[in-house]
Each structure stands twice: as structure tokens, then as C-alpha cells.
Symmetry: C2
Subunit: 355 residues, 2 copies
């Protein structure tokens, strides 16, 4: 429990004798400078970069552009009490890149819009930016621009991403047909269990960092979007439909089925529920299947595949970054059901922001 | 004072017997549906539109892409007490499109990310979206996607815009040279005066709407980005540098001069200060020159022009949407001064969000 990544401002550091600096101690220009200093040299296709009214870029040749925007709002998408700044920065970019992966697209650039309370600690700002920019570098994405503003309220990170994909390799939600098999990448439930662990008072510590992605808490805080398998599935045209699980498997099946005009039957016993998550749900009186179906934040991919293209799927799996598990199939009609122990019940949905 | 555009929720309407609906009475999907219903058919270059994980578009041929993001935060950029929802929607798009105009780019598409308190009235949501989407249609922009989320705090609108421009027609901040003349479009000071009028208790009424753009309050609430003159200046290569006045003329001159490595001398008596704004500042004991230099929200363009290209500038003005006024010139050295009545003083700056 030493070295809490998110806990320096609680007073453990050497700087506790003087008040910690906050973002309001710096000018907008100085804050932008701190971001700029962390960016690698701009690529050739960047004609005008950070510092003008707008960024100017060359489009990628013979490719379509894929655009997405997603916001992380403190108090809704994360709680600063147990989410270290590095995780906030990581998630802000990862949740967007996951949308690109779900379209079969390769990430290219991001625009970062931050609304920060004046009291936001400068050290947290630096850690958040460091995490986000190093992740961008790992995925060869360019931070092409952004916006900084004050807010009298919670921290808000709005990230817009642009990726590219060849026309014949676009994955959408709407191509699934009755008879297609449904697969999911990796495992589910871990992020939802991790969030419960954090809320129950477990803390993420610096010592956890190396193995972070293998723990439930790590899966919640530092999701790894499935870029590699997403682009492979687009390239070898194995999938008829694809989307990510940002709001949970139940929500994803609902949306993919609606967009494709099909029904779906999910086999509960086949679900790749994370073993640690299952133990946590069991120990806390929750149905592990329902909790894993309804729980969000996994950022795995849901994929529909014609049975005759199963070999292509296997090829994508061999070269990809995550195992694939068959979890059910697409049906005629519009019913969405879970099959378990010979019984059928309606598929739980998941999270919604408004009603 | 009847028919206050922003005042329906104060109880004048027929629905005052039942509690007004708020965005939290609808699902995220229903809210997205209300936006979608207002969008015109998507253009041919839109391969996948609203409703998938991301938008997929064809890039414009032989053109560079210009990207910008800007946020409007309630309590920082607008006050809901006196800013009607239609103005919030208008400004959210206009302030972004102004950045495109300053680069010489034509607007193409926008992504809209909204963080809304659950209590945000549904009627306000509808008016805000109606204003934003009709403005997008007027500028032939496509709303390509977006994100809706709840926030326990102020309303936040984050808009990302993408425009296009030919490579040789890009306008930047950095091309001004000593000896260039400085011009500004339209007039300055009106938006700052309008904001003061609103704060002093003047209200914007529905009857003001037709002539809104000609009043100070209208200039503040419904700014008109200088798209036409911006693209004309890019095309005829009259300008050596350009930027918009979002944070005021003083700030713009500082930034353009720094990016270009020059100084500047502004002639106070030449400034096209809006006559109504001047009267307001005079009547309230403020120096009209300083208030108009420091005041933000005008969304006019600052333009640097080689004296020998003055004819091209005149041609752009003839076909453009705003008059141009010469307000000073670029100088060697780095001093930024205002000249008035034979005296020189440092150029005031303007607004900054943080320190």
C-alpha cells in the first residue's frame, strides 16, 4: 500500500510542507507547453501541428477515415478517489481507440479537449498527460491538437480520434445474419469486478502496475483496446459484424442485433468470465453470469462470423492479441436470450446514462 | 419582453401545470434519436453515419484536412441565466467553425459531445440541437457523430470540426513579416458589450431575433464566423497570416506576432469599434478602445497582408461577407504597441482561462 499512484496529494510526499501546485498556478499556454513537451516529432503528414487555430493534415491515401468522440466525466465515468491520474489519461484514449478497433480501423490521430477544475493538482495533470501521450506513442497516434478550459465542476476529458481503414475492410454493427456465430475476445467481467473492488476500498498501488492488466482492478483502470485483432478481422474479412463492449456484453448484443435486424441466443456456460471476477462475484452474492453480461468497461470485441469463415477467424486469432470464444449465435426473429441449464431467459441489458 | 427565448422554464408556458420534462426522462437512445431526426440525409462521402461505433467518411480529393476542437462550459463560456439554448447551440458550432475560417478552410463535418446535467430541460435540449443542426445545414456541414453523457455539474458542449483546404491555400499564424499591414474583418467590441448588457440584466427576446446579428447582444449570442472571407483570402493568397479573435484582438495580435516572430503597432483611432458598443462603454465609464481590444467573443479575423497585395485583399472584400479595416502594421523587433494621439503604450492582452 506504499506508493499509491493516485494518493500523493493525501500528504505522503516530501512537498507536504508547501501547498501543492494546481493547474490554476499556470497559464493556459504553460499547460499546453507541458503537453507539447511530451509529444514526439510530428509525422510528415502533419502539415500544421499544435499551436495554430487548427491542425492541418494530409489524408491517408486509398483509405477511408474513421472518426469517433467519447467523454470521460469525473463522477460518472471515474472517481478520482480511487482512479489514479495515469488511469484517467489511459482510459480517455483507450475507450476511443476501442471504437476504432471495432470498425477494423488503425488509429492515426487524436484531439484532446480538457475541462479542469482550478484545484486540479499539477502533478495529477502531468501524470494524466504522460499516460495519455505515451499510450498514443505506443499506438503510433499523433496528438494533433486540443483545447484546455476551466470548469467549475468535475474534470471532463473529451477525446476525438481519427483512424483509417480500407473501404472493403470496414467492420460495422449491421452485417450479422441468422446462423452467424457470435464470438467475444479475451474475457469479460473483470473490469466490472475491478470497479467493485475499488469501490469496496481496495486501492491500486504502484507495485500492482507491472501486472496491472492481469488483475481485475488493472483491467478496469488500464483497458487494452483490441486494435490488433480488430484490424486483422477487417483485413481478412472474417467478420460480418463487430462492436466493442464499452457498455457491457448485454448492451453490445442488443445493439448489434438491432442494427443487423436479427435475434441472438447466448450460451451462458460458454462465456469467458474472468476467473478472478467470478470468484469476486460468487463471494459477494452476485450471479457471475449476469454481472459479467451487464458489467461495462471491458472493451473487448463482440464479433459475428459466418460458420464457413471459421478458419479465417482462427487465423486472425493466431496473429491477434486476444483469444476468441464462441458465446452463441444469431437467430431469426428478434428475441435476445441467454441459455443456461436447459432454460432460456431474456438477455440482461446493462448501463444507460439517462433514463 | 414577451416570448423570452431562454425563459420558458420560468413558468409562462401552457405546460406549467405539469413538471417540465428533463433529459433524464429519456434514454440516451431516445435523445440521440431526437438529434438524428433533425439531420438532413447524409452526403455520398459518408460511408457509415450516426449509429455505429464510429463514423466512416471518404476524405475530400486533393485537399488537406483541417481539424479543431473547442468546448463551451456553462459558468465559464456562457451563463444559462441569460443565454438562450438556441444561442448555446449556435455558439458551440460557430466558435469551432471560426477556427476553420481562420485557416482558410471550408467546413465539412462536426462531431458533437454533450455532457448534460439530468435536470437539463428537454425543451432546452431540443432548442439547442435545433439551432446547432440548422446552422450546420446552412454551412453544409454534416453531423457525423457524437457522444451523450450525464454530468453532475455544468453543461459542457465539446465540438470537433473537420474542414478542407487546398495545400497552397492554408492560412497560418506564422507567415506575417515586418512591413505587412494588419487588417480586421467587421467590427470589434460588440460581443464584449453585449455580454456586459446581458450581465446587467438586459434580456434577449424572441422579437430581437430577426435583427440579432446587428445588436451587441446578438453579436455575443449568435456570432457569425467569417467563413466566406477566410476561404477567399486563402484562395487568392492575399494574406500572409490569419487568426480569429476568439479571445480578443489583443490576444490575437500577441499570438500572431509571436508565431511570426514580429512586433506590431496598432492604430487605436483606426479600430472599427462597433458604434453601439462604444456608446455602451462610454456610458459605463470604460475606455472603449481598451475594452474593445481586450474583449473576446467577436470571432472576427485578424489578417496580415503585404502592402503590394492590397488589391487581392480588396477583391476578397468585394466578394466576402464582411468589410476589412486596416488597423496597423507588423514591425521589426518584438514590441506590441497601441498608438493613440501621438503616444505609444503596450498592447493590452485579454482573457486567459488559468493563471
Amino acid at each position: 500500500m506504499r506508493n499509491e499512484v493516485g494518493g500523493q496529494r493525501l500528504g505522503a510526499g516530501a512537498s507536504s510542507l508547501e501547498p501543492a501546485a494546481s493547474v490554476s498556478d499556470l497559464s493556459e499556454r504553460e499547460l499546453i507547453g507541458r503537453i507539447h513537451a511530451r509529444l514526439p516529432p510530428a509525422p510528415d503528414w502533419m502539415v500544421v501541428g499544435v499551436g495554430d487555430d487548427a491542425a492541418v493534415v494530409e489524408a491517408a491515401r486509398n483509405r477511408l477515415e474513421v472518426l469517433s468522440v467519447d467523454a470521460l466525466v469525473e463522477g460518472v465515468h471515474f472517481d478520482r478517489a480511487f482512479t489514479p491520474p495515469a488511469a484517467i489519461g489511459h482510459r480517455a484514449l483507450a475507450v476511443n481507440v476501442s471504437d476504432l478497433a471495432a470498425m477494423g480501423a488503425s488509429p492515426r490521430l487524436a484531439l484532446l479537449s480538457l475541462a479542469m477544475p482550478g484545484t486540479f493538482p499539477l502533478q495529477d495533470f502531468d501524470q494524466m498527460i504522460e499516460s495519455l501521450t505515451s499510450l498514443a506513442a505506443r499506438w503510433r497516434m499523433t496528438i494533433a491538437g486540443g483545447n484546455l478550459t476551466r470548469i467549475d465542476g468535475p474534470l471532463v476529458l473529451d477525446v476525438t480520434v481519427v483512424g483509417t481503414v480500407k473501404r472493403r475492410q470496414v467492420l460495422t454493427r449491421s452485417g450479422a445474419r441468422p446462423g452467424d456465430d457470435l464470438y467475444v475476445t479475451g474475457s469479460i467481467g473483470a473490469a466490472a469486478a475491478g470497479l467493485q473492488m475499488l469501490r469496496a476500498g481496495n486501492l491500486f498501488t504502484a507495485e500492482d502496475a507491472p501486472s496491472a492488466v492481469e488483475t481485475c482492478i488493472g483491467r478496469y483502470l488500464f483497458p487494452e483496446p483490441r486494435i490488433r485483432i480488430g484490424t486483422l478481422l477487417g483485413r481478412n474479412r472474417a467478420a460480418t459484424a463487430c462492436m466493442d463492449l464499452s457498455d457491457g456484453l448485454g448492451d453490445a448484443v442488443h445493439q448489434l442485433a438491432e442494427a443487423s435486424g436479427i435475434g441472438a441466443a447466448i450460451d451462458a456456460d460458454a462465456l469467458p468470465i474472468d476467473p478472478d471476477a467470478r470468484r469476486w462475484f460468487d463471494a459477494h452474492g452476485q450471479d457471475a453470469t449476469d454481472a459479467s453480461i451487464a458489467g461495462g468497461d471491458d472493451y473487448e470485441l463482440l464479433i459475428a462470423v459466418r460458420p464457413r469463415l471459421r478458419r479465417r477467424l482462427a487465423a486472425a486469432e493466431r496473429h491477434g492479441d486476444a483469444p476468441l470464444t464462441r458465446i452463441g449465435s444469431c437467430t431469426t426473429g428478434r428475441a435476445l436470450v441467454v441459455r443456461q441449464g436447459g432454460l432460456e431467459r431474456p438477455l440482461p441489458r446493462g448501463f444507460t446514462h439517462f433514463r
